[in-house]
């Protein structure tokens, strides 16, 4: 695709959204039978599946820790999830994303309750349109809750960015490619703490503050959708309905 002359025309983005508007979001909890917990997230054209296994015995055993569980995380993109086929298996990008995802989720878990065990999180991106790491974190948090693992809170995640010198919420692939800045953020909502923050591009002080504002607001929306998804699965429905 050629670079469009402008990414925002008359206050609207290429897909018709306002700068502070998120793409349509769908979250479903408990979509996989075998996994201990699972969730499916659609954010715009992103389709992401997360599964949680554990706490279970850690193998290989030399990786066991006597005082705590280990959290393992694998972020992976399907070969058919992007325009040009991605070679299967981990690359440098997915190794880094797996690490920051794990660190974004670990603050809400009580790993010390499960010595010698492991909690595995598998995130599979089935279709990608920018913002897959944040959709993956959003899905993984719901999957952890669905697995019945005690948590201090959920983790909600979304990216903000800068296009045409404007700070906007939730970039699409085109906006990520042709815009100047991408800043993925994950938040522990009730305490308003940032558990993931990355950025590349360019932000002045004003822009950084505005980007944080927008990220907090976006994550609040995600948080409500995550809670709703869990309620839908676990609410006790009166008989006869």
């Amino acid at each position: 695709m050629e670079k469009p002359e402008k990414l925002i025309i008359d206050g609207k983005r290429l897909d018709g959204r306002a700068p502070e508007e998120m793409r349509p979001l769908k979250i479903e909890a408990g979509v996989l039978k075998r996994a201990d917990g699972s969730a499916y997230v659609e954010l715009g054209e992103n389709k992401v599946l997360a599964a949680v296994y554990g706490p279970r015995e850690m193998h290989p055993r030399h990786l066991q820790r006597p005082d705590t569980a280990v959290l393992r995380c694998r972020y992976n993109m399907a070969p058919f999830s992007v325009e040009e086929r991605k070679r299967p298996g981990p690359d440098r990008r997915s190794v880094e994303i797996s690490k920051v995802t794990r660190q974004a989720l670990e603050p809400v878990l009580f790993l010390e309750l499960y010595p010698r065990s492991v909690i595995d999180i598998f995130i599979e991106v089935l279709q990608a349109d920018a913002g897959t790491r944040t959709a993956g974190i959003t899905a993984a948090a719901v999957a952890l809750a669905d697995a019945g693992i005690p948590m201090r809170d959920l983790v909600s995640s979304v990216a903000v960015g800068k296009i045409d010198d404007m700070i906007v919420l939730d970039l699409t692939k085109e906006e990520d490619q042709w815009g100047t800045t991408d800043m993925p953020v994950a938040i522990v909502p009730r305490k308003k703490l940032v558990s993931l923050l990355q950025m590349d591009g360019n932000l002045t002080e004003e822009e950084f503050k505005r980007a944080l504002d927008l990220a907090f607001r976006g994550c609040e929306q995600i948080y409500q959708a995550q809670r709703q998804a869990l309620k839908e699965k676990y609410a006790i429905k009166p008989e006869g309905e």
Binding site: R92, R93, V95, E96, S98, K99, V100, Q103, E106, P107, M183, V188, K191, K192, L193, V194, S195, L196, L197, Q198, M199, D200, G201, N202, L203, T204, E205, F208, K209, L212, F216
Partner: protein, 254 residues
């Protein structure tokens, strides 16, 4: 990359932090002694050895012909690689780069790439066929904490030290380096923010944030690490620290 640390040491460092003190006597906003020595490796086009206290990182730059990426036929190529050598720490192992080495390389890469510190457009030779590739290889020699800042500084110092390749295809006066991004890493221990964590501090910190800024003080890259969190106020405070400290570090780049 967490190492075993005794509980008494952990508590000691935590207690000190609560009082605004540090295990090596520094102020919270004070770097260890910084030294930058360039050009010691003759086989590289540019090189730099950076020391932050006892942490030592060597960066070497090689410039070679390469094929451009298909979507950028007229742009040079930048490749950053980092190796956590087994001689640098008892916790580093031989073999392919693990997640810590990959993260380190990618954080340094983003600082240089996103600030457009190297004008890659000038590194085209023949459109779609031949461009210059700038390889930055980061070699951690001694790990006493804060490899990120040492590596980012070494990478920039090595780039600024580059001698033009002896190749008739090279027509530029020198490597087109237009900005000097500088990474500043801030650790959080017991709610206190401190720059340039030493190894002991890294082993007990709740979290870290690396903020890379350019000369005008604007951000070009960020990376949070560790399993703790930052509040909004802490992030803004960290940015203030990063801006102030980047001026000091940048002075070492000449």
């Amino acid at each position: 990359m967490y190492e075993m640390i005794s509980k008494v040491r952990r508590d000691y460092i935590g207690d000190l932090a609560r009082q605004g003190k540090r295990v090596d006597g520094r102020a919270l906003n004070q770097y260890r002694e910084v030294s930058v020595e360039v050009g010691s490796i003759k086989s590289a086009q540019g090189s730099a050895l950076v020391k932050l206290g006892r942490t030592q990182v060597l960066a070497g730059v090689k410039i070679q012909h390469a094929e451009p990426f298909a979507d950028r036929p007229d742009s040079g190529v930048l490749i950053v690689n980092a190796e956590l050598l087994p001689l640098a720490s008892p916790t580093f192992e031989s073999g392919r780069p693990g997640e810590d080495a990959i993260e380190l390389a990618r954080v340094v890469d983003r600082g240089i790439r996103e600030s457009e510190a190297i004008d890659l457009e000038k590194l085209a030779i023949k459109s779609g066929e031949d461009v210059w590739a700038v390889f930055i290889d980061i070699y951690a020699l001694d790990h006493d904490g804060n490899l990120i800042d040492a590596s980012a500084l070494a990478a920039m110092a090595a780039l600024l030290n580059v001698k033009t390749p002896e190749d008739e295809a090279w027509t530029l006066p020198g490597l087109p380096v237009t900005k000097k991004p500088v990474a500043v890493t801030i650790a959080k221990i017991n709610g206190k923010l401190m720059v340039d964590p030493c190894l002991d501090e890294e082993n007990v910190m709740d979290a870290r944030i690396t903020m890379t800024t350019i000369e005008d003080g604007s951000l070009c890259a960020m990376q949070k690490g560790g399993i703790g969190c930052f509040s909004r106020e802490e992030l803004e405070q960290a940015y203030e620290l990063a801006r102030a400290k980047s001026v000091e570090l940048r002075a070492h780049l000449g």
